[in-house]
């Protein structure tokens, strides 16, 4: 699925779109408020859905290699966060949908879960 389609599907606000590429392909996603759990995974998702709206949400993407993040539940997005997304080249979106609804919408369109139990 293209990031542009995800923006429409989640009625998302675009805070930073890396390279202005609305056709960047998203195949897999992870939905999580526990960043340590993301970092302990084997597979790197293309997209992170999270309720966190702090710098760690962006930095975790940068450290782990996740291209884009959607902040759910309409949580406010600080200018500082947008600047950081820019600096780290992570696409930053937000939606009013809950984590459950946003995940469900993406799942129903065939986005895969990047989770695979490691042990």
């Amino acid at each position: 699925m293209k990031i542009g389609e995800i923006i429409k599907l989640l009625n998302a606000e675009v805070h930073y779109l890396h390279n202005n590429q609305s056709d960047a392909e998203i195949k897999s996603a992870a939905a999580c408020d526990l960043l340590s759990d993301i970092l302990a995974r084997v597979h790197v998702p293309d997209l992170l859905l999270t309720g966190l709206n702090n710098a760690q949400a962006i930095r975790t993407c940068s450290v782990f290699g996740i291209k884009a993040v959607v902040i759910v539940r309409g949580r406010p997005i600080d200018q500082k966060l947008i600047d950081l997304a820019h600096e780290e080249e992570i696409t930053l979106l937000s939606t009013k949908d809950s984590l459950f609804i946003a995940s469900g919408k993406l799942f129903s369109k065939g986005i895969e879960d990047a989770f695979e139990p490691c042990e």
């Binding site: 526990l34 340590s36 702090n54 930095r59 940068s62 782990f64």
Partner: protein, 308 residues
């Protein structure tokens, strides 16, 4: 927007091979004996040499050639009978990015550098001198940037590098959540630019980030020091307290002393230290209550150690 990463790549295009190469060439003659080569490699602690006649390059000889010769048990021989002729070379006026590509392509430890016009040997280039030269230049750029934009100033600390290793130091401020993780993401970019394998970078970045978050969350600050040599990446994280009273317990998956504000950051599930261990080839955690904690990890860079 120009990022720091773009800048570091830019440097590889800007710098010429001649800017960073070693000019104090240690060489050997084609008619010198293999026993002499053995002595030179041992004494100078190097792993290969250009073979030079007059000031013309006639071949290269490496420690592997020496080992092969030793294991064949042949009588003493002239270097020219064992050396590789027509070696791959670089020209002094080529941009450094060419050298990086050539190392990737051939996997050799060193390349002789020739003057394009005279064809004479003018220097030697190794991975170490490339990293060294690039980081020195990078440091300058960061310093200049700091004058205009002091935001960058407190995370990019000391850089020092010699022929064999590169050391980068970052100061970490306790409870500074806006900057928490900046050392690790900056380091990840540097490792990428150095051409380190992606899976090694991934493990290093994850371990580094969890370690950095612990320093920011639990302490009043500390120092993270990265050392990169040819065969491994070492990370040393030191803070000055409060220390951990039971290290064995702290290492257990799920063990945490974190309060709810830590969980609101996305951490504090007791997964940090176990994940650091999983990402490292070697881990050592020392702590004294009231004094501080030192975490040392190593990740091997050698080809055989790609995935654990």
């Amino acid at each position: 927007m120009e990022t720091k990463f773009d800048k570091t790549v830019e440097i590889l295009f800007e710098l010429k091979v001649a800017d960073v190469m070693r000019k104090d060439i240690i060489s050997i003659g084609p008619s010198d004996m293999m026993s002499q080569l053995k002595k030179t490699l041992q004494e100078r602690r190097i792993s290969g040499l250009p073979v030079v006649k007059g000031s013309n390059l006639v071949g290269v000889i490496s420690i592997e050639d020496l080992i092969r010769w030793l294991s064949d048990g042949d009588a003493d021989q002239r270097v020219e009978e064992v050396m590789s002729k027509n070696p791959q070379c670089l020209y002094a006026d080529q941009p450094l990015i060419h050298a990086v590509k050539k190392f990737d392509q051939f996997g050799f430890g060193r390349f002789p550098v020739l003057d394009r016009e005279s064809g004479k040997l003018v220097g030697i280039i190794t991975r170490g001198v490339i990293i060294n030269g690039t980081l020195k230049k990078l440091e300058k750029e960061y310093k200049e940037e700091e004058i205009r934009q002091y935001r960058a100033s407190h995370f990019f600390g000391d850089i020092s590098a010699d022929q064999k290793k590169v050391t980068l130091k970052f100061k970490i401020s306790g409870k500074d959540f806006d900057n928490a993780g900046k050392a690790s993401t900056t380091m990840k970019k540097n490792l990428k630019r150095m051409g380190i394998q992606p899976d090694i970078i991934q493990r290093a970045a994850i371990a580094s980030y969890e370690a950095e978050m612990n320093v920011v969350i639990y302490t009043n600050g500390g120092v993270m020091q990265y050392t990169i040599t040819e065969d491994k990446l070492s990370l040393n994280v030191t803070d000055s307290g409060p220390g951990i009273d039971d290290i064995e317990k702290a290492m257990q998956p799920g063990y945490t002393t974190s309060e709810s504000w830590v969980k609101e950051l996305g951490f504090g599930a007791g997964m940090g230290l176990p994940n650091i261990k999983k990402c490292s080839d070697k881990m050592d955690l020392q702590s004294e209550v009231g004094k501080g904690t030192t975490l040392k990890i190593e990740i091997l860079i050698g080809e055989d150690h790609e995935v654990k």
